[in-house]
């Protein structure tokens, strides 16, 4: 019962944050609502027993990536979005289409309910030792390739954004 209550509360915050991201005109407000979405998603992860993932969601996603976004928005001094004819048409068509699509998806998924089963809070030990065991054995090669990925991201960002000499 508590599980359902917590899920609904933080789920509602997630959806509210997502809709706010779309509705706001200034990118900084969108960035802040995205941080709210990520925070409540971290709680959802915790409810599913993924403690490690919840912590790195807060530290890396909300704490590093979104800070980078906020920093860039402030650096570029991005102003409010302008309303053009194209964007008005997009909103007029997009919002109803989105609502219909989501209603369809929700209906299909909930109809499949008996076959899917339920998920208990904390059912799975998502602690760092367990995840580490998977990362360094079964997924060793992707893990090492990830280090190359981070290297090219750093290198690419420096190459593209550095000053001319």
């Amino acid at each position: 019962m508590l599980h359902l209550a917590l899920f609904s509360f933080f789920g509602a915050i997630c959806v509210a944050g997502a809709i706010n991201l779309l509705a706001q005109r200034h990118p900084i407000n969108s960035a802040l609502s995205l941080i709210v979405v990520m925070g409540s998603l971290a709680v959802e992860f915790m409810l599913l027993g993924a403690e490690f993932v919840a912590v790195i969601q807060v530290i890396i996603y909300a704490g590093a990536i979104m800070v980078l976004f906020v920093f860039t928005i402030m650096l570029l001094n991005a102003g409010e979005e302008e309303r053009s004819a194209g964007s008005r048409i997009a909103v007029l068509l997009g919002v109803p289409a989105l609502l219909i699509l989501m209603g369809l998806v929700a209906w299909v998924l909930i109809r499949q309910n008996p076959a899917s089963g339920t998920v208990a809070a904390g059912a799975l030990p998502g602690t760092p030792p367990e995840i580490g065991r998977l990362l360094f054995r079964d997924f060793l090669l992707p893990f090492e390739i990830t280090s190359v990925l981070i290297l090219i991201a750093i290198m690419g960002a420096v190459v593209l954004a550095r000053k001319e000499h």
Binding site: H3, L4, F7, G11, C14, V15, A18, L21, L22, P27, A31, V37, M38, L41, E44, F45, L48, G49, A50, V53, I56, Q57, I60, Y61, A64, I65, L68, F69, T72, I73, L75, L76, E81, E82, G86, G94, V95, L98, L101, M102, V105, A106, L109, I110, N113, S116, G117, T118, V119, L124, G126, E130, I131, L134, L135, F139, P142, G156, A157, L160
Partner: protein, 100 residues
Amino acid sequence: MVPLSYYLVLSAVLFACGVAGFLMKRNIITIFMCIELMLNGVNLAFVAFAAHWHRLSGQVFVFFVMVVAAAEAAVGLAIIISVFRTRETLNVDRVNLLKL
């Protein structure tokens, strides 16, 4: 006990909001943030399925998706800064030298 489908609905809602924002918004940085919202929806789906199947590989995939999102954000923001330097605007409608 929360049914798995509730988590999937929440994940699908976040994903759909991300897709809609990508198509509707006009500011480049906001469009990029909608992609991050999509990836968050994907992460929730993975963790929910991992809990359903009692395997941890879903959570490990979330770890990798986060690293990819970080790398993409770094390079993407560098490209956006690079575009802004030559153009002084962040409106995607104005960034349109390459025409059909």
